[in-house]
């Protein structure tokens, strides 16, 4: 591999890793703050992508679709938390796993009933629909650069929200000690509801901006879910910073693994995970935003 190809593969790794981070950040937030394991997280990603498809077809603009989609997914998150997830706080992990597993099945079949099983494409918005020539044969799609930019901006916003705002302070307090916070008079239920809605919105948003690039198809939720789990396992539950580092590491391992060791392609990421767990059984960063 020559130096130029190496750089481009590096760019590929980072771009893939950043998108993974966007989806995984919601998952780790929900884990870390609410203590809930949510297997249906991949389904939210899929729902986001399908919303991007249907809404952009209806409205003619991906941007409008994304704005609408974020609002809808937050509403969905609030509803789900109120109806189902609020009952899970006192339950043990097995029940959370099973309930959210049941949810995956329900979401997949509902999608099949409502939208069908076809594969759909979403058009890249015209402003981004061009590529930057890098070599004489290869160009790099500008939309992918835009996606990475959005992921970075969101990561920064998320950090600002949690570290620097009052709401963030309440969230962090609630994560450490729910009862104490409640007895201090803060509406912990509302905080949890917001956090959950935020997690759902993050996953759905990731699905929406990724839709033009990944296309919209039935299995997309499950494939992203497992890799998100690995991100959170490596990064440490509840650590957004850890999720970022882990996602980038996975991006690197996956991209270079495919090119350098094709025979072990699917397994490289898991070997990385095993290696890190050997060193740090609870992931790179402990619980802590």
């Amino acid at each position: 591999m020559d130096f130029y190809s190496f750089l481009i593969q590096l760019l590929n790794s980072v771009q893939y890793g950043l998108l993974l981070f966007l989806v995984a950040s919601g998952l780790t937030l929900i884990f870390g703050i609410m203590g809930i394991i949510n297997l249906a997280h991949g389904s939210f990603y899929m729902i986001g992508a399908y919303m991007a498809f249907s809404l952009s077809t209806l409205s003619g603009s991906l941007l409008v679709a994304i704005v609408l989609g974020v609002v809808l997914s937050m509403a969905l998150g609030v509803f789900l938390e109120w109806a189902l997830f609020s009952r899970l706080y006192k339950r043990d992990h097995l029940e959370q796993v099973l309930l959210t597993y049941g949810l995956i099945l329900v979401f997949e079949e509902l999608r099949s009933l409502i939208v069908g099983n076809d594969v759909h494409g979403v058009n890249v918005p015209a402003i981004f629909n061009w590529s930057i020539p890098l070599t004489e044969t290869l160009s790099y799609p500008v939309y992918r650069l835009f996606m990475s930019g959005v992921c970075i901006v969101l990561a920064v916003l998320l950090w600002l929200l949690i570290a620097k705002t009052r709401l963030g302070m309440m969230i962090r307090a609630g994560a450490s000690n729910r009862e104490m916070v409640a007895s201090l008079g803060l509406n912990i239920n509302l905080v949890y509801r917001l956090v959950f809605a935020l997690g759902v919105a993050l996953a759905a948003f990731a699905g929406m901006i990724a839709a033009p690039v990944s296309s919209v198809y039935p299995g997309m939720g499950t494939s992203v879910l497992i890799i998100c789990f690995v991100v959170v396992v490596i990064g440490g539950i509840g650590s957004v910073w850890g999720a970022l580092v882990a996602a980038l590491l996975i991006g690197l391992a996956d991209t270079f693994g495919k090119v350098l060791i094709p025979q072990a392609a699917g397994v490289t990421v898991y070997l990385l995970m095993a290696a890190i767990l050997l060193w740090r059984p609870e992931g790179l960063f402990r619980r802590g935003i």
Partner: protein, 397 residues
Amino acid sequence: MMQFRKSPRFGAFAAAAATIVAAGLFAVAGNAQAPQKVRVGLMLPYTGTYAALGNAITNGFKLAIEENGGKLGGREIEYFVVDDESDPAKAPENANKLIKRDQVDVLVGTVHSGVALAMAKVARDNNTLLVIPNAGADEITGPLCAPNIFRTSFTNWQPGYALGKVALAQGKKTAVTFTWSYAAGDESVNGFKEAFEAGGGKVIKSLALPFPQVEFQPYLTEIAALKPDMVYSFFSGGGAVKYVKDYAAAGLKNTIPLYGPGFLTDGTLEAQGEAAAGIQTTLHYGDGLATPKDKTFRAAYVKAYKSEPDVFAVQGYDAGQLLVAGFAAVKGDTSKRKELIAAMENAKIDSPRGPMTLSKAHNPVQDMYLRKVEGKENKVIGIAVKALADPARGCKL
């Protein structure tokens, strides 16, 4: 923490006992039958990614039967349908349901090769007649061939081989292949390689990514660095949509031409849009064939089902035609197994794809067409290879 019960009480035992008794009753009830109608088992995907294909095949099959008066060899038909969900793990059980529980005379299916392999095994073990209207695994009419197994679609090798010939004819000297690393992908690439390298071409690298991943960027970067004359790729469904779009977005569309078997652009043009324009593929069917049979078939299909037929509908239709021919020869008497099989082996089918016969291994011998994407169609622009038969290596028929 969750409460843990001690050993459950009387009630739970009763529940388990009741279930066993119920199953037993089902079993006894299922034993008594008196077949007069021909029992046709359809094991196809009716949910999941391949649902559209399952439906197209079923529609095509039933159309052929309707055109024959709704009968096989003069006998009425009873259909038994199982949704295989394209899940190889459940395949042996699903096949067993049709063969052992429903006692079908003929089993028709399926789309996914992994499921079809399991079906073929069960059919062989029970000597049930099996007609495969899609799954292209070379093995089924190769080392695993059997007198009671027929296929009316293709082997993964066929379109690949045909495209290898096309590539040579178009003056390509070097190629890179890229596909999912699973049986269908490997067999398709091997077919291409066989023809291409036999004619002096060189495959400089074979890339593969695990099925069903769709993150193609690292591989596209590598292809660009290798600079071959062409790229041969097999992908299908959602993967094909994304691949063709990514290929174009990476600027490779203009610098390194992309080729593949028909599945790269079949059923996906709507989603692929401009990115697919001009791509050449090989397949045993295409749009705009305009033979008389194709025209009548298409018209009948649209009239019956209000949608355009595709290659899968054709394959289902021909499965029906094959059975019609076989059953007509034995006048519906399924006990005349040898004659039935001989009739099916020697059938000359007037297929919408062109004249079709079966090889000794029971796989179609058919013309492979060269097609080009124009607008929303895969237009047939020529014949890549005439009457191509799969070599059926390892078949002892």
